[in-house]
Symmetry: C2
Subunit: 347 residues, 2 copies
């Protein structure tokens, strides 16, 4: 949040749209055998041996998905790519190509676009995807980034949301709530930066690296998914968590025509979330952040009860509850044994 | 442009995002055998028999790609989908799935979104694609629409931009410049509507249906491409025209490492373009509209000289010039035989 002296930046019009696209494209030499045509043509081309093509798109908009006053451009490119790839992974497929379109206003410079695409590159490398299309266009109103991930799937491994069955275990790839706490921290420090919290306070992000990373630089549980495939454990249903745990559970239950029980004391919430909440009047509480926060990018999935032993012995994931029949509804079970209806805004 | 009385509209927050997505999704029952998973999951899934997956994305932004004061929402959905599908067709592939993300501010209502998606539906039906993903999110700043088209390709039929060779014929699927003239007309009539052209004048779009349709409701030359495939004529290069004819010729020549000669008197320009230009002080001239206008959505492609007889006898397309060696550059040949360098802004 501090203003550092920067070398002068290059206006995009000075370089021209095509020259800028060429310059950015130079970063992206396709390395997947599947990629037959990368950046530089009308469309991307892939040859998938596993027969299924799995695609997902995410559009990030300034002011809604990110606030540029605290969201570095690199992380916007990174996170939008992670979101699109995560959706492909949530079908138990492998993202292999990324198509990226951006809309930029005159506030942005060539160097800004390079930073944005450095983030896309980092995400693509992390999961072995090729960036195969780049478009840059003018925008009157802020920054928009749309990323499509195209991947390869296998019919026998596909995990839709609709396959959960009564007694299935509800599993979570890792802890939730941290990203939302990170967002709260950034918004708090923005108010400090703007002087709204008294002029003597200085922004302070130290000691909160964990929740900041969860929000700005989330990672996907690709290794866990790979291990499940190796062990021939195909989730009966799966979805990427980006609107909170409640939203994920409800969307799987709705698609599958089932109910679900989630045990509060089984939900993995990082120590750092509790620490931040405690220092900030418990608003939001870590549980609220986990249930109704967003951007966790964990996988929520179900597996038959018979997998219990293998999962608890050989995997570091969390079994947070189980699927039940539809009439029982979707509920949260407190440590004291009380049932509370699971709710998510808009569902 | 006239204000008609409308029944009251429903605020999106009243229905909720998920209910709205459900309502819109109901329109889109997948009909392609290739579509294994349509709307309602993390990602779309397709099974393509022809082995290649061909994908392209187009993002349309308010104020840049469309002006809502004269661009009906239906046509925004339609045209963005056409653009994405056109890019897949430009690889000689068949678009089969559309993924649609929208960002909408509070100005927009449920009925507006229904209108937008009616346009997407019309485009999808026209070319036999399924809409397999719908996302709606908030936007602080106007309307954004991103459409990804995913299609099926065949390795032996793929048409990249880079395959044009010396002496190849340069072909155009239909007339150019009309869309740009349509845009000029709409901008002129917006000024009239706003009273900038004197208060006695009333907007008048009559008699200009052709150029308006070219701009608002373009069609793609899918039948021509199918006929070429049936006749085993695989273009050596191809691209979709959306930034003017010059841009298309230059991008094929650049990718192929060749030059190109285009004959002014061979460029197909509709009578309606000349009529509109004549009535408006020849600004822009029909030739300028054809060369540097945009949104024509014609295919520009090259075929070996040996195809000449078949093309001229059995096809209604235009042969506008030929590829030449790189040192000769890309030139426009006037009816008088003069050579003028082909230019396109930013290239």
């Amino acid at each position: 949040m501090s203003e550092k002296k920067q070398p002068p930046k290059t206006p995009i019009r000075e370089l021209g749209k095509y020259e800028l696209i060429d310059r950015l494209s130079a970063r992206f030499i396709s390395s997947n055998e599947a990629t037959l045509q990368g950046v530089g043509d009308d469309a991307s081309v892939a040859c998938f041996h596993e027969a299924l093509t799995v695609s997902a798109q995410k559009m990030s908009l300034e002011g809604v998905d990110f606030d540029l006053s605290y969201f570095p451009l690199k992380f916007i490119g990174y996170k939008t790519a992670i979101h699109a790839m995560g959706q492909v992974m949530a079908m138990n497929a492998i993202p292999l190509q990324l198509l990226v379109s951006t809309g930029v206003s005159q506030r942005f410079f060539v160097e800004d676009m390079e930073e944005l695409f450095m983030g896309v590159e980092a995400a693509a490398r992390l999961y072995g995807a090729d960036v195969t299309a780049i478009d840059i266009q003018s925008s009157y109103t802020g920054l928009s980034v749309a990323v499509t991930a195209v991947g390869e799937g296998n019919a026998g491994l596909l995990t839709r949301r609709c396959g959960a069955r009564d007694t299935d275990l509800i599993c979570l790839s890792g802890s939730v709530g941290g990203a939302y706490m990170g967002l709260q921290l950034l918004q708090r420090e923005k108010r400090v930066f703007n002087g709204e919290a008294g002029k003597d306070r200085l922004p302070d992000l130290k000691g909160h690296e964990y929740i900041l990373e969860q929000y700005l630089k989330p990672v996907l549980p690709a290794a866990l998914l790979e291990n499940l495939r190796k062990d021939d454990m195909v989730p009966t249903s799966m979805c990427l968590l980006y609107n909170g745990l409640s939203n994920g559970v409800l969307s799987i239950a709705k698609a599958s025509g089932t109910g679900a029980k989630v045990y509060v004391d089984k939900i993995p919430i990082a120590r750092e979330c509790f620490e931040y909440a405690q220092a900030n009047g418990n608003d939001p509480s870590p549980l609220v952040a986990a249930l109704n926060g967003g951007d966790d990018f964990q996988m929520l999935f179900t597996l038959p009860l018979t997998c219990y032993e293998t999962l608890s012995k050989e995997y570091t994931l969390d079994i947070i509850g189980h699927i039940c029949e539809a009439p029982a509804g979707c509920t949260l079970i407190t440590p004291g044994g009380k049932s509370i209806p699971l709710e998510s805004p808009g569902m």
